[in-house]
Each structure stands twice: as C-alpha cells, then as structure tokens.
Symmetry: D2
Subunit: 151 residues, 4 copies
C-alpha cells in the first residue's frame, strides 16, 4: 500500500517573503495547510462534502514540524508534494516536500486528527475514527480510488 | 460630541515586511482590524460580551480604503490612533491613523455593519441597529462612559 | 485602447477565513497583490526581468480601496479579474474584481507607483516613468503584445 | 547557567482564528517569530543594533516544531514564554510556550542560525559564531546582563 502523492507547482509570492528576500517561514505552514486540503480533495469529496457526510468539523493539528534546507525567494517556481500516512484510529500524518530546481528545499509534517463535535458536550471537539474509504483513496498511489458523495 | 480615540504604540515585526524592507500593505489592514477590536473594548465590553449581550456575530466590512504616505520598516516604533464615527442605523466608520516619528504614515477607514444572525433565515447575516450605549461610549472622548455587561 | 484583463479561478482556503466562516478581509488584499503580479507577468517579463531591465525595486502602493458585496466562504470557487489603467507618468491603478457564481463579490483598486532607487540618495525610493512598452502590453486586450527581455 | 525567560501576555485576534473558531496554526509560528525578536531585544540591542554591530542579516530558521495541546480562541488572553538555549557555534534553539488559564496550550521550538553575508560570495548567507555577550545576556535569568551598543 503506497500513498497517493498530490503534486502541484506554484510561484513564491512577494507577500510571502521577508526583508531578507526569502519566504517568511510561517508562510510554508500556510502552504502546507492548503496542500493538505488539496490532497484530501483527491478523494473526490470536497471539504464541504467531507464535513456533511462524516459530521466532522475539520482536521485540527496535534503536532507539526519542518526543516528548511534551501531558501526560496520571490517568484521562484517550486513544486509541493503531499502524502498522508501513519493512519491511526483517529489520527494521521501528512508529509509535505517543497522542491526547487530538483532539490529538496523544505520538508515538513502535520499530525492531525479527524474531529467531529462531541454529541455529549456541545461546543467541544471529539476525535473520530477516520473512515476506511478515505484511507483507501489516499493509499492508492494511482489516484483511481474515489469516495463519492452519497447524494 | 467628539469621538473617543484609542491610541497604542507598537513595533513593526519582521514578518510584516516584504523584500523591499517595508510593511507589506495588507498587514496594515490586519493591524486596522485588531485596532477596531481594541477600540470597541473601550466600551467596557469584551468581544464575547458584545456577542452575547447583543446577539451579534461580528462587524463585517462593507468598504475600506487606505493611503500610504510614508514607508514603515522592521522594528520601527509607530502609534496607531482609531476612532469610530458616521454612525448610521446599522453601519459606522472606523478611522485609523498610523504615525511614525510624529508624521502620518498611513491613514485608512473601515465601513462596517453591526450584524446578527437572521432569525428568519438561519445561516444568513442581518444588519441590526447599533445599540445607543455603544455609540455613547465611543462618542465620549474622555473614555469615562462604559457599557457594563448585565451580569 | 482597452485593457488586458487577467482572469484566474481559485478556491478560498481554510486559513483565509475567520470565525464567522467568511474570508478575513485583509486576505483579499493579499490576493489582489498576487493578482497584480500575475497581470504584469502577462507582459512576458517576470518580476525578476522587470527589476533587472528597468532598475525598479517594485511597485509600492499609494492608495487602495475595496468594497465587499457578497461573502466568500471556505472552498468557494471564485474568479479574479485584474486590469491596469489610469496610466500617469509614474503611477497607475490596478482594478480587481472577485466573482462568485457569476456575481460580483468584491471589487477593489490599487494605485501604485513604478519605483526605482534614487541614484542621488542611496536607500531612498524614487518614482520613475512607466516604460511605454509595459503600458502597451497591458493595454492590448488580446494579450498578444509582449515585452521581451533584452537577453 | 539558566536561561532568561521573556514573558508577555496578549489577546488572540479575530484574524488569527479560522472557521472552527480556533487559532489557525501557522499564526502560532508568526507569534513565535515575533517573540524571538522580543527575547533578543532583552539583550539591550535592537534588531537594527544587532545587524549593525555584528554584520548579521538575521537569524534564519533551520528547523522548527510545535505541539498543540489546547485550542486557543478569539479574545482569549494568553501568556507566551520564550527562552534560548542549546547554544552551538552558530546555531541555537528558542523554545516557546503559550499558556492559557495556567495550562500549557502550545509548545514549540525554533532552531536558528546566526547569519551574515558571505564576504567571498556576495548575495549568499554564511553562518557566523554567536557573539559570547549575546549568549551571556540570554543566559542570565535575572535579565540584568545587557549588551550595550558601541555607539
């Protein structure tokens, strides 16, 4: 079982860079967050679909980390690759790599939980089991497995 | 009736500046948004108090604008002054000035509405009349008029 | 002479939205800034090319404004249209429209200057005449006129 | 030798929170970055002083990580505590803790390098030895040791 890798190229924006001319590091985490959304959209379910079908409120972070190997600058064209793994009952890890000119520039991970509201405690968040079909989609490296919304 | 002016000094952060070494302009709007919150807290009501007492969901923007007169750079110490006026039934305008070394560096306005949920259309926003005591507090330049939470 | 309109569709990201579930308004200005960069890239010159060929350090803002007509929410697919006009000697205005489901959701403008370093005062910015070929490219609605880098 | 702890309280801003009503996680990293600046200012040297005295261009990140233990919401009053340690020749680690109602809500670290320009390769960054007086200031838990600018 190999992971589906979502790959996208983009250009570094002016507003993502700092006075040293390189990406201000929290911007990479904003990029990672959006890339996780794009990876999960490869299931065939939009974020709204996922919330409605599975009663989740999102995928809050438990832990994250990143290493910065090469600086990225304004207007650099880079590639981001994202994949999910380490599937636990309610948690999983998304790994991201940012590649510039064929070299690894940044690598990071996000450990997240599949989270719904707690029916017994309104306003509180409760971890829920990740649906097996979500795991199946994101574990098919061909990208051919899709979850279809029920309606 | 003169407006209450909320005044605060702060330093420009590294992450607010761009590769030209000056504040990336949308950062000023983020600063304005927070300054509006600080101005309204001068009523004596926290944001949570205001939401609970008046059933509002926030003060969404209708229009905004800003002029940039002098560049602000990393670690510059600046002052922001904010005041509300142009009170309509449900709308008002907050004006902000950022002052650097005694000179006006940025000025801007935010036209906002006092907005609650629409009881007849769940999930939709409806403009509501601004409570007169809120206007009274923010129109007392001494800052002595306060709205107290009912509990 | 009609303006070249640069058009791009994108999805609203989770991190661009606030607790009311709608885009936090300064995020639209970040989107506008990037869209201006994309519009100018339609000249055929990258941001780096423009800096090198014309000795500019960027296009700093003098004034901006926006009107918010319809809320945009997480995962909404929207279109942004951008065009430049009001060409002065050293200044110009970029107008942006964000369209959701065929309706205008946000409109805004950015008045910017074409700015280089001041040879007589190191570290200071000086407005420069916008090169006529840049104006020509951005005034050709077909997008067929390009400025080619000299090397 | 114990570390100087810089402590500051602040309120979570509306624009730092996401549609789930909690802080959008990259915002914590923006908070950490600013807090590192505040910690280093406890040496008595401003960011500009440090750049001028020591010829550095900044303190770029090599690695970072964070754990999210309790959600922080709009208008929550929280405390951030920051301290530097693990002093290597040119690198060090800043640890941050965000505390809410006396409980640890977020903890994170930033591994950074003390970096100047490379005299032999213009435009490139080179790690430099951290000045011993900087280490001395940040290792005095009383905060009484200061580095004074030479002019």
């Amino acid at each position: 079982m190999t992971a589906l890798i979502n790959r996208r190229s983009f250009r570094i924006e002016w507003g993502q860079c700092d006075p040293a001319g390189i990406v201000f590091y929290p911007q990479f985490l904003i990029i990672f967050d959006a890339a996780t959304g794009e990876l999960f959209a490869r299931t065939g379910l939009s974020a709204a679909d996922m919330r409605r079908e599975y009663g989740i409120i999102g995928m809050p972070l438990v832990e994250q980390g990143a290493k910065f190997l090469l600086p990225c600058r304004f207007d650099d064209e880079v590639i981001i690759e994202s994949e999910a793994g380490d599937w636990g009952r309610a948690s999983f890890t998304v790994r991201h790599r940012i590649i510039k000119d064929g070299q690894l520039a940044v690598e990071g991970f996000e450990k997240r939980v599949w989270a719904g509201t707690d029916p017994e405690r309104p306003g509180r968040i409760k971890a829920k089991a990740v649906p097996p079909e979500i795991i199946a989609c994101l574990s098919d490296s061909t990208g051919a497995t899709l979850c279809r919304p029920a309606h």
